[in-house]
Amino acid sequence: MTFRSVALLLALVPAFALAGPRVVTTTEGLAALTREVSAGRASVESLSRGSQDPHYVDANPMLAVKLRNADLLVDVGLDLEIGWLPPLVNQSRNAAIQPGGAHRLTAASAVQVLDVPTGPVDRSRGDLHPAGNPHFLTDPRRALQVATAIAGKLGELDPGGAAAYQGALGAFRTKLEADLARWQAALAPAKGRKIFSQHRTLTYFLDWSGIVSAGEIEPRPGVPAPPAYLAELVQRAQREGVKAIVVENYYDTKSAEVVARHAGAKVVRVPGDVGGEPGVKTYEQWIQELVERVAGALR
């Protein structure tokens, strides 16, 4: 093969590709939002599965292959993917999806971030997120802001489809606004009630729903609970009337079940993300499950 024919071959590679932008997201939640606004023009793929703990995905080189041809990488940010995304982005040879690159969208930049630690931060406080809580998609209002940012970015990268993306975003907003009213009605009786969660994954859900956190089953992020701490939680649950312990299905429920048994509370297993359970395929289905199960347990 001559040099010229190799060059020709390389030049032809993009011609075989899909017409619309290829979007790769780090989580299935982001992929679901991207699908809502993609108007069928973009192909969307998530690097992790909804049943996976997004903190601990393997930096599998197969994922770098997916990133190599990505026209847009959408990540959560706030160091959620710090343990696995940076080496994949480096391996991908895709300069435009580097942090701050033109083909990179970090969803956290579209929302107001909660749980930003104040005062000194060190790991005696556990494996916390020093930039703030990255689990913001549990709040549908923030999800809409992220969807808006994705639609805008897609329009920038694919100007021919800008109107289509905005149209799809409008339709998604209308759907979600109807959902929001319905979900708020379902959550209204639970407002002000207290729950425990496993990890601080529900801060934004609580911020939206008005349900209150009485604490986490893990004493500090990523640190297992010693019996003394669980005993304290049992007492707190009884004192403050905690009736539900919400645990994403990628976490072990052993500690939560002990507390639930002694405190007379219920362990509520929820899908950790879109795709976390077989029937949960869209963003709306995911929030629907969260709302139903949490409101149901607090009824």
């Binding site: 020709l8 599965r49 049943s51 393997d58 930096a59 197969m62 391996q91």
Partner: protein
């Protein structure tokens, strides 16, 4: 600084290839007005006018998005200096060793060991990592090693971020792309010490040194990477360095949703002081990782085979036969907190042991109190050729502080 210059020379020399690829793909259409032009074509035309390739320049950077919280509007950010600091990390390790025989004489190695039947504490290593992007074109990773013997540069290299055609260049002081284990720092290993075969057949600490590596990610649906490196390697401390050429082909394929198989082939030729004297190295490695999508548990099975042959004058001095060795291990991370491993290895004997094959079998228990610390107990039995050898036990603690870049798979 020399490595930086090498990197930029390579970046520039890659330009014509990409440029001709772009121009041969799209025929110029001078009749269309600039507003209707295809952006790729316009890019190619502008590139031609500037005499540079469009893909040689980095992708335009976005303005930093406004922070979630309100940034101080007056006086600028008081954290400007901190923001520009590289990621700084330190990884320290210490061990308590017990060996039932005279390891230093009968099975010399770099890893931690004690005098015969006398437990010994040792401070293993403090690895200081400094990692950051240099500019839009390259990032730098520096790892300094502090041991009781002194300090040294373990690795220090730049990695290109924006080369076209699936290419990536590393330049500086690098570990040779030979086998799987050789590219990893000790704190990335599952077992406390390196397999004997790697030390006996590749290099005392690891095969590496100043040089340059070009890695090409083939445009295939799976991960297929070819790495070629030229560097000066030093196998034993204070010995003269020799020019070494290294090649490695690594393929990763998925086996269903939960398993990934990696297979690598490596080859190297190293000069041996005089003209026509060489050391040829060959290696094959496999890595199978099975991890169900939910939970933290995984099983990793891996192994490597090495072969070494001296040629020319080096064969006269060292013998002309082929020396081989291999190791295989399985590690099961049972939960967030616990992991267990077993390893078996065969390597040419060394030191005062009779010539032949040394065998070792080891078991490992790892406790991870958190993501940033692990405690390991490794117990092994070493069998020297013709009998002898004995028990080896290691208790090892390791901690990491600061922001240490995540490791490749």
């Amino acid at each position: 600084m020399r490595s930086l210059i090498v990197a930029s020379v390579l970046a520039v020399s890659a330009v014509p290839t990409a440029g001709s690829a772009q121009s041969s793909g799209a025929a110029p259409q001078p009749s269309t007005s600039p507003a209707q032009q295809d952006p790729k074509q316009l890019e190619a035309e502008i590139a031609k006018e500037l005499g540079a390739s469009p893909s040689a320049s980095p992708a335009p950077q976005q303005a930093a998005p406004p922070a979630g919280g309100a940034a101080p509007a007056t006086g600028g950010s008081p954290y400007a200096r901190l923001l520009l600091l590289p990621d700084v990390s330190a990884i320290g390790s210490a061990s308590l060793a017990y060996d039932g025989y005279d390891v230093e004489k009968r099975s010399p190695r770099g890893g931690p060991y004690s005098p015969a039947e006398k437990p010994a504490f040792a401070f293993e290593e403090l690895e200081l990592g400094l990692q950051a992007v240099v500019d839009p074109y390259v990032r730098a990773d520096v790892f300094l090693s502090f041991t009781e013997a002194g300090a040294g540069v373990e690795e220090a290299y730049v990695t290109t971020l924006a080369l076209p055609a699936g290419l990536q260049v590393r330049a500086g002081r690098i570990y040779s792309p030979f086998g799987r284990l050789n590219l990893q720092h000790p704190h990335a290993w599952e077992f406390v010490d390196a397999p004997l075969a790697r030390e006996r057949l590749l290099g005392e600490e690891s095969l590496g040194g100043p040089g340059v590596e070009v890695a090409w990610l083939a445009p295939l649906p799976w991960f297929s990477e070819l790495r070629l490196a030229g560097q000066n390697t030093t196998l034993v401390e204070d010995a003269p360095s020799e020019l070494t050429g290294v090649a490695r082909l690594l393929n990763y394929v998925p086996l269903g949703e939960t398993a990934t198989l990696g297979v690598g082939l490596s080859a190297a030729r190293r000069g041996e002081g005089t003209a026509g004297a060489f050391r040829d190295l060959g290696g094959a490695d496999a890595y199978l990782r099975i991890r169900p999508t939910s939970g933290r548990a995984y099983l990793a099975v891996q192994g490597e085979v090495y072969a070494r042959k001296f040629r020319g004058a080096a064969a006269d001095a060292n013998g002309g036969g082929t020396d081989t060795g291999w190791w295989t291990q399985a590690f099961w991370r049972q939960s967030t907190w616990w992991g267990y491993g077993v390893r078996y290895e065969r390597a040419p004997s060394a030191g005062e042991a009779p010539a032949g094959t040394e065998q070792r079998a080891s078991g490992l228990v790892t406790w991870f109190p958190s993501e940033f610390q692990r405690l390991r107990l490794q117990v092994g039995w070493d069998r020297l050729p013709g009998g002898g050898g004995g028990l080896e036990a290691l208790l090892h603690v390791e901690f990491g502080i600061g922001a240490h870049g995540a490791h490749p798979f």
